[in-house]
Symmetry: D2
Subunit: 348 residues, 4 copies
C-alpha cells in the first residue's frame, strides 16, 4: 500500500446516493449563506444552479458551491431538468413571480420570508398552490427550527409552565437604513414574532395594537422602536419590542409566562470573558450567528421532506397580521384581525 493521501484528499465514489439539486435564486447575504450551508453542512443536497441579477455575485457563489451552473434567467433555472427544487432569496418584490413559476413547474420551493410583501400577492400564491392540489411551498421562518424556540415549545407542551398567558418578546437589530418607514419594522422584522406566536400557540392572532415611544435619535426619522401587543384566539397576550437601531448588537429574546411558571429563550454563547472590570458575553453583530443552527436545521428539514417548515398559508397569515399591525400603528387603536378560514390543503 503506497497510497499517499494528503489532508483534503478524502476518497469518495462518483455516483453515490440520490442528492437533491437546489436552484438558488438570489445570492445576496442570505442566498449565499443558504448556498454555503447546502454545500457544506446539509446531508443529501447540493447547489445545482444559481441565478442573481448581479451575474458576478452569482458566479462567485456557484464557484464556492462546487461548480454549480450559473443561469442568466431565473425562469430557465426553475424549469431546468437539472434542478429538483428551488430556494428563493431574492428581493421581496420578486418572490411572487418566482414562487408561482415554481408551482407551475411542480417544483418544491423554499421562499425566504416574507412570502410576498402584500396580502393580495400572498393570497394569489395560496390560490395557485390550492389549484395545483398539493403543497410545494415552504416559507423561511427559520425560528421554528431554533433550539431555543423548539425547547420552549417542548416545555410548554409538556405542561411545565401550565397554560400560557403572556409572552414578552424583544427583537433588536443594531442598525437599519435611515428613513425606513415605520411599517417596515413590522413587515420585515416583527413578522418573525407574528409567525412564532401563531406556531407556538397553534392558534391565530385576533387583535393587535401598537404603542410607540418617541423615536430614537439614531433612527434617522423612522418610528423606531415600537411595541406591538398581540392577542390570540384563546386570549394569550404577546408583546413585541421591535427596535431596528438598537446599536449595541443583535439580540432576540423572549419569555413565555404560564399559569405556574415561565420559560425564557435567549442564546448565551459558550464563552464568557473577564477583562477590564467586566464579566461579559459577546452579542452578535447580526442575525446570522444567532440563527445559524436554525438555518441549518431548516434546510436539512426541507431537504429531508420532513415538512416542519412554515406553509404558504403561514406566510399569508403572517403578512395578513403584519398589515393589521401597520394599520394599528397608523391609527393608534386596537385592530381586530379577521383571517379567512384555513383552506383544506393547510388543515392538519
Amino acid at each position: 500500500m503506497t497510497t499517499m493521501l494528503q489532508p483534503g484528499q478524502m476518497p469518495a465514489e462518483a455516483g453515490g446516493p440520490t442528492v437533491t439539486r437546489i436552484g438558488v435564486i438570489g445570492t445576496g447575504v442570505m442566498g449565499a449563506d443558504h448556498a454555503r450551508l447546502l454545500t457544506e453542512a446539509v446531508s443529501g443536497a447540493r447547489v445545482g444552479g444559481v441565478f442573481d441579477v448581479d451575474g458576478g455575485r452569482a458566479r462567485g457563489v456557484a464557484a464556492a458551491s462546487g461548480g454549480a451552473r450559473v443561469f442568466a434567467d431565473p425562469y430557465a433555472l426553475i424549469v431546468d431538468d437539472g434542478i429538483d427544487a428551488v430556494l428563493i432569496a431574492s428581493s421581496d418584490a420578486t418572490h411572487e413571480d418566482y414562487v408561482l413559476a415554481c408551482v407551475a413547474a411542480g417544483k418544491p420551493v423554499l421562499c425566504e420570508k416574507p412570502l410576498a410583501p402584500t396580502v393580495e400577492a400572498c393570497a394569489r400564491i395560496v390560490e395557485a398552490e390550492i389549484e395545483h392540489g398539493s403543497r410545494l411551498i415552504t416559507v423561511g421562518f427559520m425560528r421554528r427550527f431554533d433550539p431555543g424556540y423548539t425547547g420552549m415549545r417542548a416545555l410548554l407542551t409538556a405542561g411545565e409552565i401550565g397554560a400560557p398567558l403572556l409572552m414578552h418578546n424583544v427583537h433588536r437589530n443594531p442598525a437599519a437604513v435611515p428613513g425606513l418607514p415605520g411599517s417596515a419594522l413590522i413587515t420585515n422584522s416583527a413578522v418573525h414574532e407574528l409567525d412564532i406566536v401563531r406556531w407556538l400557540f397553534g392558534e391565530e392572532i385576533v387583535e393587535v395594537a401598537v404603542h410607540t415611544p418617541r423615536p430614537s435619535g439614531q433612527a434617522g426619522g423612522t418610528q423606531d422602536p415600537q411595541l406591538l401587543v398581540l392577542t390570540t384566539e384563546s386570549g394569550v397576550l404577546a408583546d413585541v419590542e421591535i427596535f431596528a437601531n438598537a446599536r449595541y448588537g443583535y439580540e432576540v429574546r423572549c419569555e413565555l409566562v404560564g399559569e405556574t411558571g415561565t420559560v425564557t429563550v435567549d442564546a448565551p454563547p459558550p464563552t464568557s470573558l473577564r477583562r477590564g472590570g467586566l464579566h461579559a458575553r459577546a452579542l452578535p453583530g447580526d442575525w446570522r450567528p444567532r440563527f445559524a443552527e436554525a438555518y441549518r436545521l431548516e434546510l436539512q428539514d426541507w431537504i429531508d421532506g420532513a415538512a416542519g417548515g412554515a406553509s404558504a398559508w403561514d406566510g399569508f397569515a403572517a403578512t395578513f397580521v403584519a398589515h393589521a399591525c401597520v394599520a394599528a400603528l397608523t391609527s393608534g387603536d386596537r385592530h381586530a384581525v379577521e383571517l379567512p378560514p384555513v383552506p383544506a390543503l393547510y388543515r392538519r
Copy 2:
C-alpha cells in the same frame, strides 16, 4: 402540471456528486450516533457498511442509515472497494487491530478515543502510519471542534487575556460502573482534558500530579473524584477535576486564566425555566447533547479532509500522559512526563 408531491417526497437525482462511503465498525451508543450524523447531518458522506459483534445491532443501524451493507467480518469491511474510509467506535481493546488494518489498506480512519489503551499499542500504530508514509489516522477528540473550546482558543490567540497562566477544568459524569479502577477515570475521561491542554497551548505536558479526596460513597469503591494537576512546557498549570459519579448530571466547564483576563467555557442551554421557587437551566444526562455540535463538526471536518482533528501522534501523546497520571495517582508524587520527540510526519 399534475405532480402530487407529498411531504417526504423531495425529488432528487440519482448519481449526484461524489459522496464518501464510510464503514462503521462498532454500532453501540457512540457508533450508532456517528452513523446517524453521517446519514442525516453531514454533507458529502453516507454510511456504506456496518460491522458490530452484535449482528442485530449492526442490522438496525444499517437500516437506519439508508440501507448500508452489513459486514460479518470487520476486516472484510475495511478492505471492501465500496468503503472509502472507516470509522471505529468499537471497544477500546479492538482499536489497534482495526486501525492497523486501515493503514494497511491505505484507508482514512477516524478512531474514537482513546487511540489504544496502552502506550505500546499507540506507539505501534504511530510506527505503522510513519511506515505508510502519509497521515491516514484521525483520533476522535471531538472537543477540538466544540464551539466553546474553539471560541476560547480564538480569544487566547487574539490576545484578549494575555499570556496563559492557569486553567481550571471540571469534568463530571452522573454515574460510572461500580468498581471501576481509579485509573479508568484518567484514561477514559480525563484523557479529553489532556488532549485539550496540548491542543490549546500547542505544547506538551511535562509534569503531572494527582490529588485525591476521600472517595464518594456513591462511587462503589472507585477513587472518585480526583484532581489532576498538569504543568506544560512553558509553565502553564492546569488542574482537572474528574468526577465519574457526580450524580446531578453531565457537565464540562473550564476557565483559562491569562495575565490580563480569563475566558470561561460552559454551555448554557438556550432555555431557562422558572418554576417551583427556582430559576433553572437544565443539565444534560450524558455527554452527547453537550457535544452534539462538536461531533457533527468533527465528522464534517473529517469528510471534508480538512485535517482539523487529532492525529495518531496526539492519540499517542494523550495516552502517554494519561499513564503518567495513573502512575502519579498510585505514588502520590509529582511525575515528570518525558514524551519522545515528535516524528517528522506530525510536525507542522
Copy 3:
C-alpha cells in the same frame, strides 16, 4: 483584670449619643419587619413605642424591640413626648388619619405605600402638609433604595445607554387573595412601578393603557395578569407586567432600553445549586428577601434625615396615576393623565 465577659455581654454605656425614638403603628408582617430593622440594623434609632389593633401582636413586637412601650391608642403614641417620629404600617384605609395626626403633631412620619387608597385622601394629606409649611412625610416606596434600581439610575445618568426610550417591567407575586378586584393589582402592586418610572426619569406619566390576557385559572376570578403601558412626558414608553398569582415565586425585574444600550435589573442570589439535572438559583417566596437591603437603606436614610425617600406629593402622584390605570383597565382605552402642577413645597 478578672472580668468574665461572656458572648452576648458586650459592654456599653448608658446615655450615649442621640437616638431617634420611633413609634410604630401597625405591627403586621411589614411593621414587625420595620421594627426589627430599626432595632437590629439601623444606626441612631430605636423603637420607642408600638401600637396595633391586635394588642398581643403589639406586645410581641415591643418585646422583640428591646422593651418598647405599648400604646393602646395610636393618637396617644403620635403625640407622646417619648416618640420622636412615627412609622405607619397599618392597613391602607387608616393611613390618612394617622398621617394627618403626625402632621398636626409636627412629627416626621414614614408611611408605608400607598399614602392613601384614594386620590382625594392623598390630596388632603398634601394640603395638610402644605398648610404645615414644611415636609414631614415620607412614603415607603423602598425600591428607590434598592441597589438594582439605584444602579440602573446611575448608569442612565452617566450616559451609559444614551437617552431612554423603553422600559420593560415584570412584577410577580406567587399568590393573592382569591376574588381580589383587578384594580387592586394596580393600586397595591403596580403602584411601585408607577413610582419608579416617575423617579427614574424625573418626569410625569401622561398616558396609560392596560391590556389583559385571559385571566389565570389560578387567580380565583381576578383579572390577573395585566399589562400596563405607560407613556411619560418626554415619550418614554414603559410596560409593566403585573401578575399576582404567578405561583412559582416572587420576582421583580426590569430592562431599560436607551438609544445605545440597555440596563437590566434583576437580583441573582449569591449561591447557585446544581442538583437533579438542574443548575438553579432560588427565587424568594415573597418580597421581603428581594428588598431587604432596600428597606434597611430606606430606614437608615429616613433616620439620617437624608430625605432620599418619596414625598407626600410622590405618594399623591402614584395614587393619581394608579387610578387612571384602573380607569383604563375598565374602559380598554388609552387614558390621558392630567396631574395638577407640583406645589412649591415639593419642587426641587
Copy 4:
C-alpha cells in the same frame, strides 16, 4: 404646631439606650471603613475614640464619626473608661501588642486578620486569653458573614448536596505591590480561604501542597499566581487559586462539590449592561464592594455580642496553616499540618 423641620433635622432624644463606644486603632482604608459602618450602618454602636500613627488621618475619621475623641497613645485609648471595646485595623505587626493590651484591660477586641503575622505571636495571644479566662478576642474573617458563604453552608448543612468532597476556590486581586514575596499571597490573601475551609467543614486542615505556574509578567517578580491544595481531616480536598495581579478586577468565587450536587458562590451585581457588542456585569476594583455586606454584618454581630465571628484560636489556626503552606511553596512537597489540640476555652 409651627415646627419647621427640614430634611436632615430628624429629632432625637439625648441619652438613649445603651450604645457601645468603640475605640478604633488604625484608620487607613480598612479602619476608616469600619468607623464609617459603626457610625452609619450599625445599630447600638458609635465610634468613641480613634488612634492612628498619622494624626491627621485619625482626626479626619474622628470628625466623620460624629466627633469621636482622638487619642495620641493607643494604649491610653485601650484603657480609657470612655471606650467599651476596641477595633484594631493597624498594620499587622502591631496587632499582637494591641490585642494583648485589650486582654489585659478586659475589653472585647475585634482584630483585623491576620491575628498576628507569626505562629508564635498568635500562640502568645491565645495563651493570654486562656490566662484571662474568658473570650474577648474576635478575628476579622468577615467572609463568615458573607451571604454567599453563609448560604453555601446552609445548603451543605441542609444536605442539599450530600457529603462534601471537593472545593474549588478562586481569589483574585487586580494588582499587588511589585516585589512582594510569594509567601505574602498566602499569609495575606489565601488566609481567608484557609479560615473559610475550617469554618465551612468544621474541621482542621491536615495536609497542604502548593503548585506554581510560571509567574505572571505583570507580577514584578512575585510568584503569582499559586494553586494551594488543602486536605481536611475527613478527606475533603480544597484547591485555592490565589492571584494577586489578575489585572481585570477583584473576584472571589468558589464551588463546593458534594456527593449529589454542588453549590457555587459568586456575587453577580443586580445590574447588567448591554452595550458595544457585550452583555456585561461589572466586577469591583477591590474587595470592599464585594464584602460590604459581610463587613456590616460582622460588625453588627460583634456589637450584638452574638459571637458569630472567628476566635483567637481560629486566628492562630489560620496563621498556622498559612505557614505550612509557605513551607510547601518553598519545598514543592506535600506538608502535613499538625495543629495542637484545641484548648478548652475554644471548644464548642
